[in-house]
């Protein structure tokens, strides 16, 4: 070396200064490995304990009566019927809203949107929404769907005022007894002959719960749609374009059929997230004690997790065991949904 430093030769003599205490290092290694093993074991042990505990307490209560009875103040007669029905109603609503919205948005962002600030803003926004606590969505639902679009809400008052002024205008223009007025009056009034505003959600109803949960899981559907679309090889798109197809024709006929199992898997996983949500539904004011079945989207409702919450928060042991029974039913529903999703995912992996 042409540096004045003579360290070159001394470097080799450094070898003597290494004291490789290999056995103590290996001992630390095996402790470390044991710790990692212990961590995963603790997590899985807790899972096993939880399931055994629930089964032990709840299994004696799970029978046909439990599934077909309404809740009751007497534990031995209490059942899950209204909660099960409510869960099904709400989940169908969530699916009907979140699936088209999420898949459409996913297709737009992945296939149509150019890479500009607007698209990026939407992406960042979706990421941020995924980090918002679910109870905040409950507050949104409470304010917007219960208050603004519910009975006697802002939207109700607005539509009422519009209807009344339309009626007044017609009265002034055509007099009280014209044929036209009779006809319009029929349109503006409800069954009791009163002019009313428009109540879209019916307040603390199934549609409110469905909309709230749909907004909550929308980011999951969008993200999984985009991932499934991205997994379709670009060569397929190019092949479609080369045949003179428009972008939408390519997406509809070539890409979506390939991506569909993945999209469906993502949607099912999103629904299984929604099915276990409790906090946002309590916040919008879903009832905890219901002894009738929902009739339409504006009916009041309860769902499985809320029924479970209600039973857990009572002081009597019998209700706690009922809660365990409810948990078993909820977990079975989740298990069925997740297995479906896993089966679909495996099928998808085979196709590529």
């Amino acid at each position: 070396m042409n540096t004045p430093n003579t360290s070159g030769s001394s470097l080799e003599s450094q070898a003597a200064k290494f004291e490789v205490d290999i056995s103590s290092r290996y001992r630390t290694d095996s402790i470390f490995k044991t710790l990692t093993w212990l961590a995963i074991s603790i997590a899985l042990l807790v899972l096993a304990t939880l399931i055994v505990d629930v089964l032990f307490d709840g299994l004696p209560f799970v029978n046909w009566d439990f599934l077909t009875n309404f809740p009751s103040r007497k534990p031995e007669r209490a059942g899950l019927l209204s909660a099960l029905a409510g869960t099904i109603w709400v989940m169908v609503t969530v699916a009907v809203i979140a699936f088209p919205l999420g898949v459409g948005a996913g297709i737009f962002l992945e296939e149509f949107a150019e890479d500009n600030w607007f698209t990026r803003a939407i992406e960042i926004n979706i990421n941020n929404l995924a980090g918002v606590p679910s109870i905040i969505y409950g507050l949104l639902g409470l304010q917007v769907f219960v208050r603004v679009f519910g009975p006697n809400g802002w939207f109700y008052e607005l539509t009422l005022a519009i209807k009344e002024s339309v009626y007044q205008l017609l009265v002034e223009a055509f007099g009280n007894n014209s044929m036209l007025l009779q006809w319009v009056y029929g349109l503006l009034t409800d069954a009791d002959g009163q002019i009313t505003g428009v109540d879209i959600t019916g307040g603390r109803s199934i549609i409110t719960g469905g909309l709230t949960l749909a907004l909550l899981v929308l980011p999951i559907v969008i993200v999984s749609t985009r991932e499934s679309l991205r997994a379709v090889p670009d060569s397929l798109r190019l092949a479609g374009f080369a045949l003179g197809a428009t972008r939408w024709q390519v997406v509809r006929d070539q890409i979506m059929p390939m991506a569909f199992p993945g999209v469906l898997t993502g949607t099912i996983l999103a629904l299984s997230r929604a099915i276990g949500e409790t906090a946002p539904l309590i916040t919008i004011g879903a009832l905890t004690f219901i002894s009738f079945l929902p009739e339409n989207l504006q009916s009041p409702f309860t769902v499985l997790p809320i029924q479970i919450y209600n039973w857990v928060s009572r002081p009597q042991k019998d209700f706690h065991d009922l809660a365990a029974g409810g948990i078993i039913v909820l977990l079975v529903v989740l298990l069925v949904m997740n297995s479906t999703a896993v089966l679909l995912r495996n099928k998808l992996q085979k196709r590529f």
Partner: protein
Amino acid sequence: MNSEPTRNDSLWQPDRQASRTSEAIVRTIFGAFALVSVLTTIGIVGTLIFEMFEFFQEVPFWNFLTDDQWTPLFPTAEFGIFVLISATARTSTIAVAIALPLGLFAAIFLSEYAGPKTRQIVKPLLEVLAGIPSVVFGYFALLFVTPLLQSFIPILQGFNALSAGLVLGISITPLVASLSEDAIFAVPRSLRDGAYALGATKREAIVSVVLPAALSGIVSSIILAVSRAIGETMIVTLAAGQNPSLGLNPFVPIMTMTAFIVQVSLGDTPAGSLAYKTIFAVGMTLFLLTLVLNIFSFWFVRRFREKYD
């Protein structure tokens, strides 16, 4: 008969106008769908700001920050938000103290030590743990963990921060594990090889080279877990109680921010009442806390992510 596809133009008349129209319609509709997420954000922020503003018309901001009681439903109402924050801090701290080591070590186990067969069994089980609804964890914390702990800690009350925090920690462990594992997995092989070639043992390679290289992903997974712990509702509502108390004691009943929102929602609170506005003020505090964490995590990943090509 001609054996080739014909080039006769009269037979090729695609309806270009129709495809262009349907393309434009689809684009517009799907673009509008994408905007729903923006509207959601606007709805959340708008709602929270509007009601919070109303709230501060009635309650001085200074009292919100400095009162040492939280009694909004009492005739002599006090609004010390730190009473609730101290409760959320207690459950979240315990939760992260559990989830950080468990999740990180589990991630290391899965990515570095587990064989393919073990992974195939353990990963789906962790997904099962991640998919357990929080109300189920709440049941477990209140009716299994608390009685169990009480046999060791006699002063532990029926509702307490400790059980809630422990179970909350278990519930966010899969999140830390799976995100950290992704980050560890992304560390290129060449770095590990570099460490091994210098005479590192497996643990030395992991601790000194792989984990630092995956740091940004690991930190962001932890921040996400913290934000999940702060916003979690059912476990703390069921197991930690409904009793606002300022302090650090994990053995007594407490009331977190989320538990307060649930408590008010369960009662019949008319819109426009002070109690109604209060839950939005608490919601805003919660939202801001998680937003700050999300932004910090975003910034941290940007700032500290190493780029390997």
